[in-house]
């Protein structure tokens, strides 16, 4: 079961208008080579599900700031002013979820649940239009699960079966996003033969991953550089 593929093979799964989920947080843990490939392929009209929109020239932020997203489900766009502009001008539809709720909605989608019950957001705009239930006397909002046509994630190491190990805080939303795609493509810094990863250290079991590609590394400068 060798799941190692090329960038071109990976991009064959990503189409205009698809629902794309991308791992990462503030650009860290976004898969740079897949993002570069999507831009080169001129992918447009995406429904994008991502923790945030990074920065205008960093990570998934590039896809957003180039106007390639028609609908965005996210928790934060503050570090990408272009995203805010597109939203205010009505060029991009944005649905905000509280960050922890978004992570759990993605997880729920990945693990076969229909949604989650949350009290965070009650008394705010977040609860508008959503069904509520009482459980043991406590009020909760029903937040629906999220899945995607394609999930793209970044990891430090994979074996050829697709078992994944992440790098420090670049883990963030990646293990959740990896579970929630009908097709999940992992871009990794190092690919090793099966048997080379310590089963105790594996975070994402390879069963969730459809394809592994070699990363070419980031092609942007970080905000702090």
């Amino acid at each position: 079961m060798n799941k190692v593929g090329t960038l071109d093979e990976a991009l064959m799964h990503i189409h205009n208008g698809c629902v794309l989920m991308c791992g990462g947080f503030g650009g860290i843990g976004n898969p740079p080579t897949l993002i570069k490939g999507m831009i080169k392929k001129d992918i447009r009209d995406l429904t994008l599900i991502a923790n945030d929109t990074a920065f205008p020239t960093i990570g998934i932020g590039k896809v957003v700031s180039q106007g390639r997203v028609k609908k965005l489900i996210t928790s934060h766009i503050g570090s990408n002013p272009v995203a805010g502009k597109l939203m205010v001008e009505g060029k991009m539809d944005v649905e905000f979820s509280p960050q922890g709720t978004l992570a759990e909605r993605i997880r729920a989608g990945g693990v076969g649940l229909g949604g989650i019950l949350v009290d965070v957001g009650i008394g705010s705009m977040v609860e508008e239009g959503k069904e509520k239930v009482y459980v043991k006397g406590e009020e909760y909002v029903i937040e629906t699960a999220l899945t995607a046509d394609v999930s793209i994630v970044h990891a430090k190491k994979a074996d050829t079966f697709g078992n994944l190990i992440y790098d420090t805080s670049a883990r963030n939303t990646n293990p959740l996003v990896a579970m929630a795609g009908k097709i999940t493509i992992a871009e990794v810094e190092e690919i090793v033969p099966v048997g080379q990863l310590d089963p105790n250290a594996i975070v994402t079991p390879g069963v969730f991953v459809n394809m592994v590609i070699q990363s070419e590394g980031v092609d942007w400068k970080w905000a702090w550089e």
């Binding site: 996210t74 503050g78 960050q99 922890g100 977040v126 420090t168 805080s169 963030n172």
Partner: protein
């Protein structure tokens, strides 16, 4: 905001006094991020970050940054002994389970009931929610750092928030460039003023009703 770095550091230094040894603490973006600089060097505090770190340390030396190891604002950090990495659901499990002793957040408005608005100015600024709703609602203690007045010179401490809320009745303490205010069941209590301001000036520049503590101290 337009507060000078000296004033911002004074607010951060005052907030740092609320952090005790052994606490689990989350600092928001902006002035709150300065708070850790004002703790003693040998502090025994575990800093939590929404992107999946418990036990963040100081900023790395220039040239020694690990681009993968960052705080929630995307800036490089280091870790302390005992630190751990985890995914976003665990990061928010820690918050929702009520394991944070203190969160220190920025704010756009705080009401006299302790309601907080800090995520959107409709049609103008849309930073987004991030982790603010979980932090504001679930941390054991919520401290908000904000300028006393907005850029039009209007009070940010108001009877009722006009901006969309982050969470209701969540704020315990407000620290501004003019005053330190405790939020209690009985209302807002002015406990300290920031030099050179007087109690009268603080009352005048506050939109909500203030109760005045018996001994209002001055913070220099």
């Amino acid at each position: 905001m337009g507060l000078g770095i000296d004033v911002r550091n004074r607010m951060a230094r005052r907030a740092a006094k609320e952090i005790k040894d052994g606490m689990i603490v989350n600092l928001g973006i902006g002035i709150p991020s300065l708070v850790s600089n004002h703790l003693s060097r040998d502090h025994n505090v575990m800093f939590h970050s929404e992107n999946g770190v418990l036990g963040m340390g100081a900023s790395p030396e220039k040239g020694k940054e690990n681009p993968m190891l960052c705080n929630a604002a995307g800036y490089p950090v280091t870790i302390v002994p005992g630190a751990s990495y985890f995914d976003s659901t665990t990061a928010f499990s820690i918050i929702r389970a009520g394991l944070l002793d203190i969160t220190i957040l920025g704010g756009l408005e705080v009401s006299e009931k302790g309601d907080l608005a800090n995520w959107i100015i409709p049609g103008k600024r849309v930073p987004g929610i991030g982790g603010a709703m979980e932090l504001a609602r679930k941390a054991k203690r919520v401290i908000v750092l904000l300028s006393h007045l907005n850029k039009n010179g209007e009070p940010k401490i108001v009877p009722t928030c006009t901006l969309p809320l982050t969470a209701e009745r969540c704020v315990n303490m407000i620290i501004t460039d003019m005053a330190i205010i405790e939020v209690t069941e009985g209302g807002l209590i002015l406990t300290e003023v920031m030099a050179p301001f007087t109690v009268e000036e603080v009352i005048e520049k506050t939109g909500a009703k203030l109760l005045i503590s018996e001994n209002v101290e001055t913070v220099y």
